[in-house]
Amino acid sequence: MNDIFAIIYETLFGLYESQFSLIFDTLYENGGYNLLGLTFILIPLIMFAAFYFLWKYPYGKFWHWLLWLIIVFLITGGISWGISNNEIFLSNNQALIDALADPESGYEEYANTLPIKYALFNGLLSIAAGFIYSLIMKQFSKIQIHLPF
C-alpha cells in the first residue's frame, strides 16, 4: 500500500527532489504516505456515505452535491496539510531534523513548500475518489439517487 501511494505522490505528482531525498525517505519509511493515502480514500468515503445514506433532505440539487464535494476537498486538504506538516517537521528521523535545522542546507525552505502541495494534490485525489464513490453510492441511496445527475 505504501508503495502505491509513494508512486502516486512521487511519480504521478512529481513530489520528489533527490536533493532533499531525506524528506521523502522519511515520509516513505514512517508511513507518512500511508496516512495521506488513507486520508484521500477514507474521508470522501465517509462523507459521501453520510451524504447518500444519512441526509434525508428530499430537495437536494446538483449544487448541494457540488458543495459537499468542495467541503470534502477542503477537509481532505486541511488534514493532509496537517499530516504532511507533522510527518516532515516532527519526524523522529534525526538526520532529517538536523537537515531542517541547518539553514544552509536549504531543507527548511524547501520543506515549507511541501505541506500545501500535499494538501492540494490530496484534495484533488479526494475529488476524484468522491466522484467515483458518488457514482457508486447513489445507486443505493433512496433519496439522493439523482445526485449528481
Binding site: 434525508k56 428530499p58 447513489k138 445507486q139 433512496k142 433519496i143 439517487i145
Partner: protein, 500 residues
Amino acid sequence: MARKLYIFGIGGTGSRVLKALTMLLASGCKLKNDFDTVIPIIIDPDTSNGDLNRTKDILKLYQEIRNQVNEPNDFFSQEIKTVNELANKSSVVNSDYFQFSLNDVDQSTFGQYIGFNTLNDDYKNSKDDKNFTRLLYSEKNLNSNLNVGFKGNPNMGAIVLNQFTDSEDFKRFGQTFSDGDAIFIVNSIFGGTGAAGFPLLLKNLRGNSDIPNSAKIKEAQIGGITYLPYFALNKKDEVNSDSFEDKAKIAIDYYNRTIIKQNKVNSLYFIGNKGNTKHLEYAVGGKEQKNNAHFLEMAGALAIFDFCENIVQTTNETQVKEFGIENDTGTILFGDLNLNNQKEIVKPLTKYKLFAEYLNIGLPKALNTSRWTKSNIWLVKRNENSFLDEQYFKSSEYKIQIDAFNKHFIEWLYEMEDNKPAFSPFNKINWEDALSLIKGNKGKGNKSFKSIDIENCKLITAIDLRSTLDKKHTTLIKIFGKSTEEVLSKKNLLKQEQNG
C-alpha cells in the same frame, strides 16, 4: 362472493349524498361484506340541476381515475360502475349513464304530461275527471314546467315518477341484478322528487313482477335513508321552506304505516337537523339549484357503510336508525363525532385532504427536484426513474382527471365548512405546517410537506406502484395513499379521541 350495491339517489338530496359517498370512497373508505361494486343510479327529472350535474361529473371522474390505477387498494379502492356498463359489458365512461332518464319531462308542463286537456269534464255523467283532478292539483301545479323537477310537490312527483319503472334503464337494472346484491335508496322527505319517489320505487322493487329478476329483487336486502329538513331557503315563493316541516310530518306518517309497518325495507335511516340551519340561496331547480355540500350528506353516506356492514340476510323486521353526534355544536370537528364514525372517516379524509393539498401547495417545491419526480436520473436501473415527472403533471390526463377531481374534493370540504352547522375539522395550511391540518391535533416534529416528499422518495421504486401506459395514475394514487398514511401515523396525527 362479489356483491353489488345499487344506490338510488332520488332528487337533489340523492345527488348530494352520492357525491359525499364518492368523496369518501375516493379517500379509501370501502364497503364491507364483499360489496365490491357500487352502482349509483340518480333519479331526477331536473336534468340541468346543478347538484345533479356536479355529482355526475364527480362520478365520471372517479371512474376515469380508477380505471387508470392498477388494482387500487387504498384511495379509489371501491369500484363504481353504471348499469349500462354492467348490462352491455362495456367500459365506456359516460356521466349520463349514472342517471335514469324520465320520458316526456323535457318540454312538458305537468298538465300536458297528465294529458289534462284530454281529460273528460262530463260532470253530468259523473265522469268529470278534469275537475276531480283540479281538486288534487292547483293551476300552478298544472302549469309548472316539469324539467325543473316537482318544486317540492310530491303529488306531482308521484304521478310522473310512476312511469320510470317501465323505462329501459329500469329493465336493464333488473337484468344485472344477482343473488346477494343489495339496494339502498336515498331521498328527502321534504322535496318534490324524493318524497314521492321513495315509496314508489320501493313498491316497484318489492311488487313489480315485470322487472327482470323480480324474484331476486323482491327478496333482496333493501335499505334507505330519508332526510328530514336540514336547511331553509331565504325566500318564500313557489317553494316555501316553512312548509318543509309540515310536509315532513305527513310523509313520515305515511312511511310509518306503509313502509315500516309492512317491513318493506330491511333498514331505514333517518337524519335531519332542526334549528341552527343555514338559509340557502333560493332557487327553483335548474342549474341554479346548486346547494352547498352539507355535513349531513356525508353523515348520510355513512349510513350506506353501516347498512353494508350490518347486512344480515334474513330479518323480517325493519331496523330503524337515526344519526347523531356527540356534541351539539355549530362547528363540528372530528372529536365531536361518535368514535365509530371517527374510525371510519378521520383517517381517509385526512389522508386525501393532505394528498389534495399537497398537489396544490407541496408539489411545486418537489417537482423536478425530488428524486420521486425525476425521470432523467443517470446510471441507474430503469425502474429507478419515476413515472411522476413534469411531463406527467402537465399531461391532460392529470389535469382533466386528477386535478379536476381534487378541485371538487376541496370544494366539497370547503362548502361543508361554510355551511350551518359547519363541518370544519381541518385547519388552513401552508407548506410549513401542512401536517397540522387536523384541528386540535398538533402532532410532533417537523410538520411541513417535507415528510411526504421523503416518504415518496422511499416508496417510488416499489413494484406495486408502477404505472403503465394504460394505467397512468397508478403511481400517483398508490404512492400518496401510502405516504400520507405513513407520515400521519409517524407523526401521531391519526389518533381518535372524543371531545369532552
